[in-house]
Every structure is written in C-alpha cells, then in structure tokens.
Subunit: 189 residues, 2 copies
DNA sequence: CCCTTAAAGCAAACTACTGTGCGTTAAAGT
DNA sequence: ACTTTAACGCACAGTAGTTTGCTTTAAGGG
C-alpha cells in the first residue's frame, strides 16, 4: 500500500445498480407526488435499497434531488447545425420544449427552482452555453443573430415559464411562434 | 339557538394576531433558509405560537406556504394608467420586477413553483388578468397593442425566469429593455 | 355584563425521519 | 484465485414532525 493513495472508488456492479435504482426512484416519486413529498425512506423503499446507503452516499434529500435534476435536465444532446441560425434556433427550441414538457421533467424543473435558493442553479446553465455556441457559429458564418441574452429572455424564459407555472397549456407549436417573434426583434436591430 | 346556523368565525383579536404572526414567520423562514427547510414546529417557534394551532388551522406546511405565497405575491396594486400602452407596460413591468426581485419574494416564488405541481397555481394568475385589463383599455382607446400572450411570453416570463432561476443578475433596468423589444414584435405586426 | 363556544395552548402519545455500529457482500487490484 | 476494503444491508438508537384529548382563553352575540 502506498502511503498517500486515494481510496479506490467502486463504480461498477452493485454500487452502479444502487445508484441507478435510487435515481430512477427519485424521478418517479417526484413525478408522482411532487418534490416536497420525496423522503429518503420513500426513495429507499421504491429503489429496493437501504435508507442508510442513501444517507451515506448523498447525505440528504436535497443533494440527491439536486443531483438527479442536474443529470436529467441537462442531457447533452448534439446541437442542431443547419447552417442557418433561424432554423437552428427553431429546432433547438422545439427540442428543449419537447424534452422538458414531459410531466416528469417538469416536476424536476420545479423542484430545482427551490434548490436555486442556495447559490448554484447550473441545471439550466448549459442551455446558455448551447445558445452561445449557436450564436458564435452563426457569427463565424457572417450571419446576424439575436444576442444570447435575447435568446434567453425571449425563447428560453417563455418555455421554462410555461412549463413551470402554467402546465397544461398544451400548445406544442409555440416554440416556432417564439422564434418568429425573436426574429422580429433582431431584424433591423 | 337556530337549528341550522353556521358556526360563528372568529376573525379578530387573538386569532388575528396568531394568523399574522404565523404568516410573517413563514415569510421570514423561507427567505432565510429556503422553502424546503420550513417546518411547522419551526414556524410555530418563530411565531411564538403552538404547533397544534397551525396544524388545526392549516393542516400541513404545504397549505400554509401556498396561502402565504398567494397573499404575498399577489397584492393588488393600482394599475398604471398613462393613456399609452407602452408607458403602462413599462411602469407595470418595472413594478412587477421591483416587487418580486426582493429576496424574500423571490424565495416565495420559487416555493410556489413546487406547489404548482398539483393543479392550481393562481399565484401569478392575476398578472394575466392585469395584462388583459391594460390591453383592453388600450384597445378602447383605439391603440395597437401586443397580445396578452405576447406580454406573458416576452415580458412576464423573462422577469419571472430571471428571478426564479438566475438571481443576482442585478440588472434593474432590464424591464425597459423587454418592453422595447416587445414593441418591436408588435409594430408592423 | 354575561353566556356560549371557537380557537388557542399544553402535554403526551404516536409516527416518521435521520444517524451510527457492526457484520456481510462483492468490486478492484494483484 | 486471493486479498483488501469500499460500499451495502440490518438493526437499533436518537431526533424531529404530527396527531389528539383536554384545559384555558377570549371573541362574538344577546
């Protein structure tokens, strides 16, 4: 044994199964009864795992929910690359909405709002990064684009707002409308 | 005693004091430690009230927080009435932002996001009503206006989104920017 | 001012969540 | 394979949240 070695982490086999089962259980329970009803014992029972395993690995419900929210709301998908910023944004917005409008994701999103109370949000931070990349790519092509702030304010914000505070506004086509309106802001800017 | 009389409610004196103290305590605690840390015993202690009084009147923390959120996020203020929809919206947006950006209100807002999981949100419903009234008044004057949907998507949503998910974006002047951009969407529509 | 009783307080029982010691299982490294 | 030990499960102890019966207080009505 070397004197200052870091303890070997166990990432496979049983541990991996436990982690996966717990994360799934959190997602299910949040979707079923809301984030405020999620407790460690409930998650443990659903996952078929011992509560103490959860406490030792995650500490408390908050950290656990935060982790699941970050993982599940932030899948890094390939960015659309049509060669046209308008089409890129349209597809990007449609995908964002389609992804987060599912009830399970929506509940996770609402849960992460509460977690934003203390410092780090980051569960939507990568959206801004994506917008930045889309804009930079368009600029490299010499295209005129909305600013990243405008994309966040007039595209991301309305989508997130509706999902969070006005569910069952089942207007699947509205990302397109938003992109069109964003375009109006940009042109002749 | 009449046979089918409704029991007399007690609205003044001690009961009123208890109700006020409890509501204040909820607001304080949410601002201090986040909605997930608010418990009935904690509220009771802060309010100088017995926990059982809270349980009997409100049932559980969820209902209590929901009530406080509705009351505190929905003060019905007088609507601006300048004779011009642009100026009305500018003032309305500025006031909305100024009101909700305070840390205490922001925490309440985030808390109410979780409560939106089960059915009724309504804590922002009256904002839509206000927007409707502003628009109707402008139409009566023969003015061209953005639609209520556009006001919600491009004015209310960005404001709420920033407060909820991106606090410390201390740009007090941005409601004005939003109104200007909304105007661009509307003109030549 | 007095009577009625809604609503508060108190205290104890009860339930649920959290934390820890200890034996067991199995992942990672040789 | 074998060894080491991280991570799991179990069981029990500790703490925190909830519920309920009873007593006390005082609001509302005559």
């Amino acid at each position: 044994m070397s004197s200052d070695s870091v303890p070997a982490r166990r990432t496979g086999g049983r541990s991996a199964l436990v982690i996966a089962a717990v994360r799934d259980a959190v997602e299910d329970l949040i979707a079923e009864s809301g984030a405020d009803k999620v407790t460690v014992p409930a998650v443990a029972a659903r996952a078929g795992v011992s509560p103490s395993s959860i406490y030792r690995r995650w500490g408390d419900v908050g950290s656990l929910v935060a982790e699941v929210a970050t993982l599940r709301l932030d899948p890094d998908r390939p960015l659309p690359d049509t060669g046209n910023i308008g089409d890129d944004l349209r597809e990007w917005a449609r995908e964002l909405y389609g992804h987060l409008a599912r009830p399970t994701k929506a509940s996770l999103l609402r849960a992460s709002a509460v977690l934003a109370d203390d410092g780090e949000t980051n569960c939507l931070a990568s959206r801004r990064d994506e917008a930045e990349r889309l804009v930079e790519r368009a600029h490299a092509r010499g295209q005129v684009t909305p600013s990243v702030r405008q994309i966040m304010d007039h595209l991301v914000a309305p989508i997130i707002y509706r999902i969070t505070f006005e569910p069952d506004t089942g207007d699947t086509g509205f990302p397109e409308t938003l992109v069109a309106e964003l375009d109006r802001i940009t042109e002749a800017g």
